[in-house]
């Protein structure tokens, strides 16, 4: 059953559930952060409308910096601004930020310990019609291997807002991943959010499998849990918004209780979220695992729904995978 402590919307499975893109959460969150702290600045690489950076620009024009289509410049200029006391958010598509400017982020932000906040938009295959070039599937891998880097992957717009506000309040170098398409808004303002803490969405007295998901895949995992319960398979669902540092205690507990784990991410399976979980569990609590995600291939054009279905990330696929693992 749904874990009441998650304080989700009244009926997360309602067909009328509101939908919103996580990038909208960035827009709201960064305006909120800007109101709280005048050191917050936003740099954008010629994508202010689609990244929602323009919401900040409208509110704080003097703290919005247009750098043009220049992601390497954006990252390094931001590092300089951080060195002079600002808290810079840099916004572009994840394919270019951190895809294009990886080494700049590595050297001038992470190694240099600057509070640069890297906002990777349009991540995952759910970008849709733009196709493989713009469907970033390697960003979590690139960012989580960097020392000093915090990696957040919020599940809906409300949590994305909280993640942005939380990131602005620390001196950490942070990566946050956002999606383009509208996804279910199933958490609320009261839903707990803390960097480094996973959130139990669904619990069972005797779970046979734990579904560990990140980003908007956590909603699909929750839907899969409902379907599994209807078929008599008890499971647990843990939403892991912080991919680094992992909530080791919560993940190990979930694995120990269920004995089987399915990881779900809209990202390459190699070196991504599932790999991070496997690194932890192989050390602390080896269990049988299945990995849902993109398996060593690039995306393609299509609607977000078609692509989520094609790459095996729908609630139906998650439930089928869980059943195979339990069988």
């Amino acid at each position: 059953m749904i874990d009441a402590r998650a304080k989700l919307v009244a009926d997360p499975f309602s067909p009328d559930l509101e939908k919103s893109a996580t990038r909208d959460g960035f827009g709201h969150g960064v305006v909120e952060a800007g109101k709280k702290d005048e050191r917050v600045v936003v740099l954008c690489g010629d994508l202010s409308e689609s990244t929602r950076a323009e919401w900040f620009e409208k509110e704080f024009p003097e703290r919005f910096i247009e750098v043009g289509v220049a992601e390497q410049g954006m990252a390094t200029i931001a590092s300089g601004m951080a060195a002079a006391g600002k808290i810079p958010f840099i916004a572009s598509y994840a394919a270019f930020n951190p895809g294009r400017n990886y080494e700049q982020i590595r050297t001038t932000a992470a190694l240099n310990r600057m509070p640069v906040k890297v906002m990777g938009m349009h991540a995952g295959v759910s970008v849709g019609p733009d196709g493989a070039t713009h469907q970033m599937l390697e960003d979590i891998a690139m960012m989580r291997v960097l020392p000093h880097m915090t990696v957040l992957n919020p599940c809906d717009a409300e949590e994305a807002r909280k993640a942005v506000v939380a990131a602005a309040a620390t001196d950490d170098t942070t990566y946050i991943r956002f999606g383009r398409s509208k996804v279910a808004s199933f958490t609320t303002a009261e839903t707990p959010f803390e960097v480094g803490k996973a959130l139990a969405l669904w619990t069972s007295a005797r779970p046979k499998v734990a579904l560990l998901a990140t980003g908007s895949m956590s909603y699909n995992a929750l839907c899969a849990a409902r379907d599994l319960a209807a078929d008599g398979v008890d499971c647990a669902v843990l939403h892991v918004a912080t991919v680094k540092p992992l909530d080791e205690q919560a993940i190990v507990s979930a694995a120990r209780a269920a004995g089987r784990v399915v990881t779900i991410e809209e990202h390459q399976v190699a070196a991504g979220f599932g790999s991070a979980v496997a690194e932890l569990l192989s050390r602390e609590c080896p269990v049988k695992m299945a990995f849902l995600g993109i398996h060593d291939e690039f995306g393609q054009s299509g609607t977000p729904e078609e692509l989520i279905e094609h790459y095996g990330l729908s609630p139906k696929h998650i439930a089928e995978t869980a059943k195979r693992l339990v069988a």
């Binding site: 410049g73 300089g80 080494e103």
Partner: protein
């Protein structure tokens, strides 16, 4: 450390003496380290001396002083000259220079801000310093700071796109509190800059990106100080000072048979000469020699 800009004869003599002492320290530290870059540190000794002993508003006992001027080193591989100059200026004991590149040292092979107070940035990967300097200049201007930002760059790192992104940015936002310096020694790892990837005319390139450009003899401390003074008087644009230098300046054995300002050497000549410079005539092993 406040100062008048123009140099008296006595001040100039003092700075020349300092520059020589800094060159000696650079050579001692490179020999002790057994690896590292030689040409750039030697040819930038005069300019670093001018910065730390005359131009910069700074306090060696309080490296984080908010009102300090910022000196950003973009081409981090020449950091021995910065370490040596900082030590002579009183940031840390000169003898610590001999720990360069050794395990546990604050003097990392390429500069790391978090290891040694006063470094401002972490650098080494080329083409990133000017953008960071521009970001610092932009942020300082937002805060109405009177501090100035100086950024030392190499000519070779102007091959990097990241550099030109910063050049455009600083020009667009009229960052008049930013002065960049190019160590125009005409060499990079694979040879003469104009063979590897032609850069001329640097002056017209920067001017077309809305910068003020000055060209000076990088070994004439007076001329360099005057150029920095002129940059301060330009209120609408950032300034680039192209400092023409001789690679390895100050060490007769490795100072060229020919200067790098005139007729370019052949590729083979350039390689042979570069090897001499990088090894200081065989004294310092070098990974790119």
């Amino acid at each position: 450390m406040l100062h008048a800009m123009a140099l008296s004869d006595a001040e100039l003599e003092h700075l020349d003496t300092q520059a020589e002492a800094i060159r000696e320290t650079v050579i001692r530290m490179l020999v002790a380290a057994g690896s590292g870059h030689t040409a750039g540190p030697l040819d930038m000794a005069d300019i670093f001396t001018a910065f730390y002993f005359h131009i910069l508003k700074h306090d060696p006992r309080n490296p984080g002083w908010p009102e300090r001027d910022r000196l950003i080193l973009s081409n981090g591989h020449i950091v021995p000259v910065r370490y040596a100059t900082m030590a002579h200026a009183g940031y840390f004991p000169v003898e610590e220079c001999l720990t360069l590149r050794k395990f546990g040292s604050r003097l990392q092979g390429h500069p790391e801000r978090t290891c040694l107070p006063g470094l401002e940035t972490t650098s080494g990967p080329l083409g990133e310093g000017l953008a960071q300097a521009a970001g610092i200049a932009y942020a300082l201007r937002m805060d109405r700071s009177k501090s100035r930002v100086y950024c030392v760059t190499s000519d070779g790192e102007h091959d990097e796109g990241n550099t030109w992104e910063a050049v455009m940015f600083a020009g667009k936002y009229k960052l008049a509190n930013l002065t960049a310096i190019m160590d125009r020694n005409n060499i990079q790892i694979d040879g003469h800059t104009e063979d590897v990837m032609p850069l001329d005319s640097i002056k017209s390139k920067y001017e077309s990106f809305h910068w003020h450009v000055l060209e000076v003899d990088g070994h004439n401390i007076s001329a360099f100080v005057d150029a920095v003074g002129e940059a301060k008087a330009i209120f609408e644009k950032p300034t680039m000072i192209v400092a023409h230098t001789i690679a390895g300046k100050g060490v007769p054995d490795i100072e060229g048979d020919y200067t790098w300002h005139g007729k370019p050497p052949t590729k083979a000549e350039a390689r042979k000469f570069l090897k001499e410079i990088r090894t200081m005539g065989g004294k310092v092993p070098h990974e790119y020699a």
